[in-house]
Symmetry: C2
Subunit: 320 residues, 2 copies
């Protein structure tokens, strides 16, 4: 089993590498070779026995994917992307990384006859937008209101078409908002969703820029990684007529997040959250849908978190 990961130095990429090496196998086959691709050389993971090739390259360069595809990988995780703020600032960059590189990957598989290769891409809740219903389902239109979401939606269509034609075996997972991300707050509009739990649990202050009524559709990093692994294991013919679907996140309000924080760490932890409404952040995140039936993903065996409490407990266990 040879696995290629683009964006392997990123947040999910590194966690996925670690988990794959811990498992030692994917889809019942021993992992013998990992090819890790990113702009800068991905860190060397701890392993004995598994061959690790690390490639520092820009996948948007002509032929940039040749080295990764030459050996005919069994599975490709396509995680390289420029995220929403960057894609909104620089349309050309977003198109190149988020769309053209996906197309190059598909064409590379096509040219090499990699029809059996399972290509797993991460799409996003940001691909939804417009006049959304109260509860979204697998047949809700993607009418993205940001360039990142549009580029992800276009990549979904292309992966589906190449898969339908039998040129590759693609599957696209639309990720909910991920909480609790480790590390520090960042520029993402959703950064507060991790921050208002993580910082108080670490004894630090956090800022909540949105109303406590705000509902979000969330998934823990652990469940996202499990979904990426399951995404490579689902048989192609089980996927039905469209290769992209929303993962089974859970719907939580900010008020529920603060109440869970109180349950696990007391009133003094909740007191560390300062409420400073930010109209810009509120406007962005309130446009994201928060309620989904995720029938297709559930039928395919994808599993979400049991509860917000489980997400917080897992974070505390990870720290311990």
């Amino acid at each position: 089993m040879h696995i290629v990961i683009t964006g392997a130095a990123g947040f999910l990429g590194q966690q996925l590498v670690e988990r794959l090496l811990a498992e030692g196998e994917l889809n019942g086959q021993t992992i013998r070779h990992l090819t890790l691709v990113d702009m800068a050389e991905p860190p060397m993971p701890a392993t004995d026995g598994v061959e690790v090739t690390r490639l520092a390259l820009d996948i948007t360069e002509p032929g940039g994917l040749d080295a990764a595809l030459a050996a005919g990988p069994d599975v490709i995780y396509h995680l390289a992307a420029v995220v929403s703020a960057a894609a909104e600032t620089d349309l050309e960059l977003g198109m190149r990384v988020n769309f053209d590189a996906t197309r190059a990957l598909l064409e590379g598989c096509h040219a090499r006859g990699l029809a059996e290769t399972r290509l797993v891409m991460a799409s996003s809740v940001a691909a939804y937008g417009g006049e959304l219903p109260e509860v979204l389902d697998d047949m809700t239109a993607l009418q993205p209101q940001n360039s990142y979401g549009a580029q992800k939606a276009m990549s979904e269509l292309l992966i589906n078409d190449y898969s339908r034609r039998g040129l590759v075996d693609g599957r696209v997972l639309r990720l909910p908002t991920i909480i609790i991300r480790p590390g520090r707050p960042n520029a993402a509009a959703s950064s507060f969703a991790s921050s208002i739990l993580r910082e108080p649990l670490n004894g630090e202050e956090a800022v909540c820029p949105v109303s406590t009524d705000l509902a979000m559709f969330v998934m823990s990093p652990e469940k996202v990684i499990e979904a990426l692994i399951h995404g490579a294991e689902v048989p192609g013919d089980a996927l039905g007529p469209f290769r992209a679907f929303m993962l089974p996140g859970i719907t939580v309000t900010v008020a529920e997040m603060l109440e869970t924080l109180r349950q696990v760490a007391g009133d003094e932890a909740v007191a560390r959250v300062r409420h400073e409404p930010d109209a810009r952040i509120s406007a962005i995140v309130s446009g994201w849908p928060s309620r989904f039936t995720t029938r297709r993903a559930r039928e395919l065996g994808f599993r979400g978190d049991g509860s917000l409490r489980e997400i917080v407990d897992a974070f505390l266990n990870g720290k311990a």
Copy 2:
């Protein structure tokens, strides 16, 4: 008012040119210049006073759109496309014409600062697919099951994103199946839908390859041309969060088509239709959705045919 039409030598292109010249104005402004683009030089339309530039070129060539865009047109009708069978046979050709040329058009407008230019593209009912509900609406997902539909859906997303960013003023009309097309039967799977009316009305035989229960979503060529004209007249800010929507076709069954034929031309006309079921054609066309609420289009003032009888009467008047 300077109007560019790509695919101007095609079926809809030629009808649109004729109608625009007959009207003499678009959106309340006198038409002074038409630029007609197609692979071969489009025929010279009858006009006095309107400047007509005819360009024989391949819009997928680098710089292929430069001559058409240089003068900064007020309206662009982007009708050039390779249709479904050709796009299914040749993925690379379909991607180039149906998607890359749309992107080049958008980039060409962007590079020249044509933010006010109204870009009207024709999309298709073929962009729908998958596990569709009984009645589709403006928020039904596009999960195309053919490359033509996938390329149209990707173009929709791109036109919407460029419009959202204020780089062009795009609008995309998803066309129902067009009946009654003039001329002869062709290779399109939907060819019979025109044929079973047109041929008997002309005293000729026709073949019906599908069950008389089959329902289709249809629109007359006249109403499609009116919709293209209206599509350039709707103000951009009325279009809401997504620039693509289904036009208000009407749902008709093959049985209703034959009954209407009987009403206008008697039993002997109906007797000219031979029923020869064709599994391949039935499989294709039965996958196309036939029932839509088309709220967005109606609110924007797009109008469909009143009834199947009106479509047939208009065809007979056109012949007379």
